[in-house]
Symmetry: C2
Subunit: 214 residues, 2 copies
C-alpha cells in the first residue's frame, strides 16, 4: 500500500497530507487488527505505507493518539456502514438484521482476526480509560441503533411487542460478538457459520407470528 497508489495521475505527487494521514490510518488499523494495539509496531506501519516517522508524528501525537483515531475514524465508520445505515431504511428491521448478520465475512483472515471493535475493546479497555470510553461510545451507538430499529418494527407491527428493544439489542450484540470470538479462537469457519445460523434462527423468533416471510 504505497503512498502514490491513489495519487493524482500527474507523475509523482509529493505533498498530500490528507492522503498521507488516511494511508497511515488504514495501515495502522491493519497492523493493530493483526497484532493487537500493544504489539503493533510503528515501524511496521511505516514500512507498509512508505511514510517516515517524522510524517507520522506530524499527523499524530503518538501511538496512543493513532489508536484513538483508529477507533473514531475507522472502526466507528465500519460499524455505521455495516449496521446503522442499513437499519435506517424503512424495511422490516428483523429482515435487515438477518441480512447484516448473514453478510458477515467468512474469509479465513476475517475468521482468524475476529471483530476489530471487540478485539480492541478486550485488549485496551482495562488498560486505558481513554480507549475504553471511545470504544464504549461505539458500542453504545451500535446498541442504540439496533434498539431504535426494533422499536420502529414494533410500531410497524413486525416485531413482537413483548420484548424490550434495548435488552434484545444487547443480546444480539453479545451473541454475535461471542460467536465471532469462539470462531476466532477455534480458527474454524464452521463455528462462525453455525453461529450465524443460530443467530438468524433466534432473530426469526422475534417476529410477530405470521408476519413477513423469509
Amino acid at each position: 500500500m504505497l503512498l502514490r497508489k491513489h495519487s493524482k495521475p500527474s507523475a509523482k505527487r509529493q505533498r498530500n497530507p490528507k492522503h498521507t494521514r488516511e494511508c497511515l490510518l488504514q495501515a495502522a488499523f491493519q497492523e493493530v487488527y493483526k497484532s493487537g494495539f500493544q504489539s503493533a509496531g510503528l515501524d511496521t506501519i511505516l514500512a507498509a505505507t512508505g511514510v517516515t516517522k517524522g510524517a507520522l508524528y506530524y499527523h499524530f501525537d503518538g501511538k496512543e493518539a493513532l489508536g484513538h483515531a483508529i477507533v473514531d475514524e475507522v472502526i466507528a465508520v465500519m460499524t455505521r456502514d455495516k449496521w446503522l445505515l442499513p437499519l435506517l431504511g424503512g424495511g422490516d428491521p428483523i429482515e435487515t438484521l438477518i441480512n447484516i448478520v448473514r453478510a458477515t465475512s467468512l474469509r479465513p483472515e476475517a475468521v482468524r482476526g475476529g471483530c476489530p471493535l471487540n478485539n480492541l475493546a478486550q485488549e485496551m479497555s482495562p488498560l486505558d480509560e481513554k480507549f475504553r470510553k471511545r470504544l464504549a461510545r461505539v458500542f453504545q451507538v451500535w446498541q442504540e441503533g439496533i434498539a431504535t430499529a426494533l422499536r420502529r418494527g414494533q410500531t410497524q407491527g413486525t416485531v413482537r411487542r413483548d420484548l424490550d428493544p434495548d435488552e434484545t439489542s444487547s443480546f444480539l450484540i453479545a451473541v454475535y460478538e461471542g460467536y465471532i470470538s469462539l470462531a476466532k479462537n477455534a480458527q474454524d469457519v464452521n463455528v462462525l457459520k453455525a453461529g450465524i445460523r443460530n443467530i438468524v434462527g433466534w432473530l426469526r423468533s422475534l417476529r410477530v407470528p405470521g408476519s413477513s416471510t423469509d
Copy 2:
C-alpha cells in the same frame, strides 16, 4: 502474596519447590489477568511473590511456558470446577446451568477484568498457535461438558428434544462470553446483570413446557 504465606508453621521455610511453583503460577495468572499476557511483566510477578528470576527460570522455561502453564493448570481448572463438575451431578442440567450463570461474580474487578479464558484467547490466539490450541482445548471441553449434560437432560425428559445439544451449548457459551465482554468494556455491573437475566430467561425456554419449577 508472599512466599511464606502458607509455608509450614516452622518459622521461615526456605526450600519448597511445589509451593514456589504454585505461587508463581497464581501470581502470573493474576498479572496476566490484569494486564494481558504481552504486557504482563515478569518483574511484576517476581515482586508479587518475592521469588527471584533464577527461581522462575528454574521452574519454567520462559514467559511463554509460564503462559501455557496458566492455561493448563489455572484456567482449565477454573472452568472444570465452575462448569463441568456441577454438571456431572444428576440434577436438571438447565437448573444447574442457571445456577452457574447466576453465580457469575459481580465484583467490580471481575466485571472490569472479564473472563480470563476469553481474554487470553482473544489476545493470543491469532499470535501464537501453541497458545491457541491449548485455549481451544479448554473451550472444547467446556462445550462438550454442557452438551453432554443437555443430552442427559433430554433423555431425562427435562430438556426439549428438538434442540441440538452441541449447538445449544455453543450458543450459551457465545452469549455468556459476549455479555461478559460487553460488561468489561462498559465497566458496568448492570450490563452483566441484565445479561445474566436474559441468559437465564433463554435457558428456561430450553425446558420442556411444564417441567420442573424455578
